[in-house]
Symmetry: C2
Subunit: 201 residues, 2 copies
DNA sequence: CCCGCTATTGTGGGTTTCCACAATCGCGAG
DNA sequence: CTCGCGATTGTGGAAACCCACAATAGCGGG
């Protein structure tokens, strides 16, 4: 596992302790003294997970989280808090945070949590890649092809599509064939299955 | 909206205040003095939503929630708490609770929340109904028909299915036709679309 | 034993899908 | 103006799908 865990906390002792904990488990980690510093550097490529303190000088944890979400951030975010704050916990979880942990925490449990978060992120990265690949294929379709595909997906016969679009059935066959070729599938059934799999995730 | 809101709280004043609040907004409500009482009566048919206090004599809110989930309960559950308890909030939310609200709460916000929860439940009820209908149709298939359908859904030609099952292509045609008839669709595309839509929800 | 149901198979004919080969037209870019 | 691309269409032939009509065999229940 090569993903880096990014620890954002204005307390150096906490950052170092966590970095040491993760390093001792073979998990690469990097600390950031503030949300601002992290947002400015914004290391995205190798990020496996963010461990984010709620209370910080400057931008708070939830504020950093909002910024990340606003820019389409995908890596999981685990909040740490030393103060019981139910509304913040509820709000961040409902907004998509991976988890919310009170200090003091159990080392093993935090590591397990981080490992789970990284694994989930990895799975999602694969799915996102597939979805982007599918999107690229869809982008190669001409307008007409895309239109024919939409009607194909409704289970229409070629002659029904021809009638709907006011063109010859031979033309529908041409478009249909090109759609299947560009989408890399054998037939309409495979196309529906492919689109459905990625729609569901 | 005919769904009932079930309020579970061992404090009669809270139950009555909430029942009054909901009634004043045209939302039918019923109070229960304990989790035990609710679990014993277990009104399921008209339940739109459960509002559940965390701290109670006997079974606690989270314990009631666990019992409900264990029996496949579907209606949304909103927790109320007078004590900041982050781990409980996090755990119940991650276990599927609809929301977690600290007392004192804003009347309008709680009502909005309940209305949202009921609407979500209604949507899910419709989907569950569709899924059950689909399941019933699938149950009408003979073993052989179900087997042919599985291969159909993979985009196989009749002759491919015939080869895989070691039978004549004519037989595959017969099974295929009966599958489409029993599933109430025009062709394999409609069948895949139908199954995918309900799989995704 | 009879009946109903499922599984299986065949024949013949119609419909739909698929496509190689071929061609025209319109539009936009260089 | 030329070229490339997309949209459109036709011909002819093969493959795949669909099904009415017909039949046999096996199994379980009454």
């Amino acid at each position: 596992m090569t993903s880096t865990i990014h620890i954002i906390d204005d307390e150096e002792s906490i950052r170092d302790a966590l970095a040491f904990l993760f390093a001792s488990r073979g998990l690469p980690a990097q600390g950031w003294p503030s949300g601002e510093a992290f947002l400015e550097a914004l290391p995205g490529q190798d990020c496996g997970c963010v461990v984010l303190d709620v209370r910080m000088e400057g931008l708070s944890g939830p504020e950093v989280f909002d910024r990340l979400r606003a820019m389409g951030w995908k890596a999981p975010v685990i909040f740490l808090t030393g103060h019981a704050d139910v509304p913040v916990a509820v709000q961040t979880l409902k907004a998509g945070a991976f988890d919310f942990v009170e200090k003091p925490f159990n080392d093993n449990q935090l590591v397990d949590l981080v490992v789970k978060a990284i694994a989930m992120h990895e799975n999602q990265r694969v799915l996102i890649g597939h979805r982007q690949d599918l999107q690229r294929r869809i982008q190669t379709l001409s307008n007409r092809e895309a239109e024919v595909m939409r009607l194909m997906l409704q289970g229409n016969l070629n002659k029904q599509i021809a009638h709907a679009l006011g063109i010859a059935m031979r033309t529908v066959e041409v478009h249909r064939s090109r759609v299947l070729e560009k989408m890399g599938v054998r037939n309409t059934t495979e196309l529906v299955v492919l689109l459905a799999e990625l729609d569901a995730s």
